[in-house]
Amino acid sequence: MKEIRIHGRGGQGSVVTAELLAIAAFKDGKYSQAFPYLGGGGERRGAPVQAFCRIDEKPILLKCQVTEPNYLIVQDPGLIGLVDIFKGLKPNSLVLINSKESPESIGLTQTSFQIYSFPATSIALQVFNKPLMNTAMIGAFAVLCGDLNIEALKKAIEQKFPGETGIKNIEAMEKAVNMAYDQFGVIPK
């Protein structure tokens, strides 16, 4: 089972990221679940939030938060140090940080995880002229995971954001996918 935890701030689309990953997995024939943690005043814009997504081949009965993820997405590098983002993270897990800087230069020198950084906000600024970076993060995450269906992700974005918003978000995701293939040296399937 993939257990994904997403860290961000209220308004950065962390909850939507979890939902899009779950919708895409469902469209790809899998079972999935997504939900937010809004304790600690997480309904407010700017407050630290967490969202969770589980993806499995069989129905998911668990109804508790993801405390021992094997995938981590950090939408806001400013949370590093404020929130224990690595808490419970399983060894060798994949970590994706939204940052122009390398993981080492922002102080993430842990060798027990596979840590990658990706400039999702830069892509969002190009596409939207606003820092709406969550769909760019999803694109990079899909490339790193290797087994997320990118066509299903596009369908999920179309469903969640019909019309122009969806088209723009798909553009952001595709830009991110192409850039991530280059940056991470992954060979497209």
């Binding site: 937010p36 668990l62 508790c64």
Partner: protein, 401 residues
């Protein structure tokens, strides 16, 4: 179980609140009276969208408080109209006065309760204190584990509440966030199949200027016990209806989540956990892990808290050594509410030791390892014969007290 393909509208992944609102919308309540409160808001927002877009023909009334929203339902229901609302937490408390009135006046309005902790301290996360506090009103209460069960139970509950042998207000209790805001795969049913199943509400009496009747008249000591007795008896009759409707639903739609209870590996189990709502899913995972180690444990999920299925609980627990009741609410100084009622149901029965834990308050999470710890601790207490009379608060942080 094979789902009846002919009744499927769609198989989709969607948010629990939207799935519930789509289902309630298919039943087109004549009146929807609302006042928003977190985490129930997405349900009434989506119903507002359905009404505004002309998808359904309901009269949608924004009230100035939950008390008014419930009062609007009271009036509509008294006029013979199918009526619906949703609320959470303090909002449900503000509806309480009206809900007692509805039960006493035998008005079958239907509510979705999206469970949330009560203030203070303010907290928007899930426990069951809000709905459990309504337990003495005469209200039917069914608790659900996941989005599919929430959808199916909403269809069932209209038919149960509006049954002429019952005629009581009714509430589907669904955990905040983990059901209301979660995305899960769910089957939505065709509108026509839903309407065929629930039928049309024909009240035996209705407020009608052509045929004046008195509602809510003063009743003195010569008759009031009998009125109260009739509420009690009607709620008792609802138990049989819940069983019957769950069976009919299974035949019509091919979907089943238990009737008044759901049992999970209780046959021959030495230890049985009792719980309500979404944690039943997490408990099932813990039980699967323990069963793989040949531990004889099972789950008795209580779907119907009101009516309270005492005889079914006695029956299921009769062979067990240890019963562990997990409560997400409590009656101050008395213990867990479900725990106290399970103890009462088993009084003088020579049944299992009963250990009552108060856990999962205000969103404090319970993971499979917590469930296993609770089971291990309970089995120890039971084997030593040192079961405490009082409920135990699980994982209290004594440094904060």
């Amino acid at each position: 179980m094979s789902v009846n393909q002919g009744s499927i509208k769609c198989r989709e992944i969607m948010q629990g609140s939207i799935a519930v609102a789509e289902t309630v919308g298919a039943l087109e309540p004549g009146v929807i009276g609302v006042y928003p409160i977190t985490p129930q808001t997405h349900i009434v927002e989506h119903l507002a969208r359905l009404v505004a877009n002309g998808n359904i023909n309901s009269k949608y009334i924004n009230a100035d408080s939950e008390f008014s929203a419930a009062s609007i339902l009271y009036g509509a229901s008294a006029a013979g109209v199918r009526s619906y609302s949703a609320s959470s937490s303090q909002g449900l408390l503000l509806m309480t006065e009206v809900i007692f009135n509805m039960a006493g006046t035998r008005l079958p309005a239907v509510f979705s309760a999206v469970n949330r902790s009560l203030s203070p301290p303010i907290n928007i996360q899930v426990d069951h204190q809000d709905t459990m506090t309504l337990r003495d009103s005469g209200l039917i209460q069914l608790y659900v584990e996941n989005i599919q069960e929430a959808v199916d139970t909403h269809i069932q509950i209209f038919r149960i509440a509006e049954d002429l042998d019952v005629l009581l207000p009714a509430m589907v209790c669904m955990d905040g966030w983990i059901i209301s805001h979660a995305y899960e795969p769910v089957t939505l049913w065709q509108e026509e199949a839903i309407r065929d199943f629930t039928g049309v509400f024909f009240p035996p009496y209705e407020v009608n200027p052509q045929k004046p009747l008195t509602y809510g008249a003063l009743t003195d000591d010569d008759k009031i016990t009998e009125f109260k007795y009739m509420v009690d008896a009607a709620l008792g009759r609802a138990e049989e209806k819940i069983i019957q409707v769950a069976g009919d639903f299974k035949k019509a739609f091919g979907s089943y989540h238990g009737d008044v209870v759901e049992t999970y590996y209780t046959e021959g189990a030495e230890t049985i956990i009792l719980a309500m709502g979404s944690i039943a899913g997490t408990i099932k995972v813990a039980i699967d892990q323990l069963r793989a180690e040949n531990k004889k444990v099972g789950l008795l999920k209580i779907r119907s808290f009101r009516p309270f299925p005492a005889s079914r609980i006695r029956e299921v627990l009769s062979g067990a050594k240890t019963a562990v009741v997990i409560d997400r609410s409590f009656s101050a100084s008395s213990g867990g509410i479900l725990g106290s009622e399970v103890k009462a149901a088993l009084y003088q029965q020579n049944g299992p030791f009963i250990i009552n834990y108060i856990a999962g308050i205000g969103g404090r999470e319970l993971y499979p390892h917590n469930i296993k710890e609770i089971i291990t601790e309970s089995e120890k207490l039971s084997a030593a014969g040192t079961v405490p009379d009082k409920a135990l608060f699980y994982n209290l942080n004594s440094a904060l007290i």
